[in-house]
Homo-oligomer: 340 residues x 2
DNA sequence: TCGGTTTACGAAATCGGTTTCGTTTCGAGT
DNA sequence: ACTCGAAACGAAACCGATTTCGTAAACCGA
């Protein structure tokens, strides 16, 4: 018998397909312990597995969660993917992933492809440029945004407490004796996350009466060095503290500092966002604002499940959930780079 | 009209559902340019999208490729995922991903979950311990192994040319003046890839008449330092060259060297596998054996597609493809760590 | 013992496409 | 003009589960 169907199982067990179906989904209409056992035995013996396609068609649920990631090279994304995968699996769901590579066109294409594939819900770590399309999608199926918001608002968002993390890094640098602070960013990065961190940085400086600014390292290696060199000279004589707005900027900074070599100002302190593995190693350990990726992933899936349940349970427009913004607290890893 | 079905489209266009289906899949039985245009117009106007579940059920194809990755934290895996995603999308397929986290139990679970979900084929970057299950799966649906082989053999495998890469790194170190070479590995890593590199390393040493050995850094931070320290003292007075068998070992090595600090032997040269972004930065640039991840991904999907086509085209056991081993050449990035 | 409510289960419709099998139409060859 | 084969298309079966609806048996209190 090549492939068994539910009716074959039913026949073997001497019941109807409907009953087997009830067994498979352990439905409210319970069955006798005896029939349950008989069905279980047949399934066990034959190794029967229900065909997902048939199930999906009739129930119009797939137990699939679509995930669109902007940049998988970013360890934040890989950690997130791992977390999402685990959380989804715990709920019996699988992940359909798409990677936009920060290309809005690819992101848009992924959006329609995943929706067409029939995912129950969508997790989007947007690269920007598709705000309307994403908002529209959120009107048609459950969507939870990851880390990056869309302009419209009105869509669930799970993110870190960026403002507190910025404050934490400023704290660490100030405690290490820095008198002037710079937040290093990249020209190409105009994400809401960067903006939020930059704003928080400015607020924090003025709150404490500290001097400093946001410095945009130009894209492309060499110019980054030049800009950094200039910054360091601008603040000559003062104890300088640098914060990299994300892990990639931090790498660029490291490269630039290596090129500047011996001329580094005394007492330069460094801190960064994103807890990459090499943060333990570079500069003897870099003080880092680490996000709680596992919890973020867990809450994303949890929230998405809520919405999916609402969609499949309630009939009409009845119980529409209000959009929600969820902030997951991260923490500061204090390392050698901000010791006195 | 909330959701259109194919019969609605057919009615609007004044044709039968069968014809619309033919249009959607542009089937051999061509249609008049005129009917084609009429159908296209209706679909365009209504924004109709066929339901994947229904299509899957009848055609028993899903256009889904399952991917099981051992360790997404490894940038090799993320790069691979990005490549797979692109290659699959180019063929109109989506990716269902699962991450085992190097846990054989999770890997086994992912295997059945993805198969149950009805993927057309499977890409497996195995963490080991499921060789029989994987071989069995390969008997029931197309499977291509990524980077890591299974014991049984008999399953397609796409991998890098590890032996040549090892030779290339040995070359680089020898050219930099190293007299003694060590290949650093991790105790926990017993993968076929590690074994292959270790064997190639031993062969290469004996071929050139060089002295050296494979050194296993114990797991856990501190002991790694001790083992490394001992190694360096063992070879005191000789110019030592170290090769990290993979990117994680390299990080461990970096950490250990940082702790050993000033006592480093003069002329220590370093090289590593896996082109992580920080390889540009650490030690002023580390000579690296880089794998051609994009090509690997492309070939994996290509091979899988071949198998999928064979399965859906041929009737019985007719044209079974012989298992194939595909090696994608990588290359050596020469950087400062092996300059004279 | 009897009416009324659960409980356990079966028959058949259903999800929305694809595929098979015919039928009609069209054009080429003689 | 007539035949024949291919091209264009429609009717209906089909994929394999879920779900609705209905019925018989079991249970339960009065």
């Amino acid at each position: 018998m090549a492939q068994m169907r539910i009716k074959d199982i039913a026949a073997e067990a001497g019941v109807s397909p409907a009953t087997v179906s009830r067994y498979l989904n352990n439905r409210p209409g319970q069955m006798t312990e005896e029939t349950r056992a008989r069905i279980a035995a047949v399934i066990e013996r034959t190794g029967y597995r229900p065909r997902a396609a048939a199930r999906n068609l009739r129930s119009s649920r797939t137990n699939l969660i679509g995930v669109i990631l902007a940049d998988i090279a970013n360890p934040f994304s890989s950690a997130m993917l791992e977390g999402l995968s685990a959380s989804a699996a715990a709920r019996g769901c699988s992940l359909m992933t798409a990677i936009s590579g920060n290309d809005p066109a690819k992101e848009a294409e992924s959006l329609t492809r995943l929706i067409d594939a029939g995912v129950d819900g969508l997790v989007v770590n947007t690269c920007g440029g598709n705000d309307e399309a994403i908002a529209a999608a959120a009107g048609r199926l459950p969507v939870v945004l990851l880390d990056r918001d869309v302009a419209d608002g009105g869509v669930d968002l799970v993110t870190s407490n960026n403002r507190e993390l910025v404050a934490g890094l400023v704290d660490a640098l100030a405690a290490a004796g820095s008198e002037r602070l710079c937040l290093l960013t990249e020209a190409s990065d105009d994400s809401p996350v960067r903006r939020e961190r930059a704003e928080a940085f400015a607020d924090e400086l003025s709150r404490r009466g500290l001097a400093g600014e946001v410095v945009t390292l130009a894209d492309g290696g060499a110019t980054g060095v030049g800009r950094l060199d200039k910054t360091i000279r601008d603040y000559a004589g003062k104890r300088l503290g640098l914060i990299a707005v994300n892990g990639l900027v931090f790498l660029r900074l490291t490269e630039a500092l290596a090129q500047l070599g011996p001329s580094l100002p005394a007492g330069l302190k460094i801190a960064t966002f994103d807890d990459y593995p090499w943060n333990h190693v570079l500069f003897g350990g870099v003080t880092t604002a680490a996000q709680d990726t596992l919890t973020i992933a867990e809450r994303v899936v949890e929230r998405l499940s809520e919405r999916i349940d609402v969609v499949t349970t309630t009939v009409g427009e009845a119980a529409k959930l209000a959009p929600k913004r969820i902030e997951i607290p991260g923490h500061i890893e204090h390392r050698a780079s901000t010791s006195r």
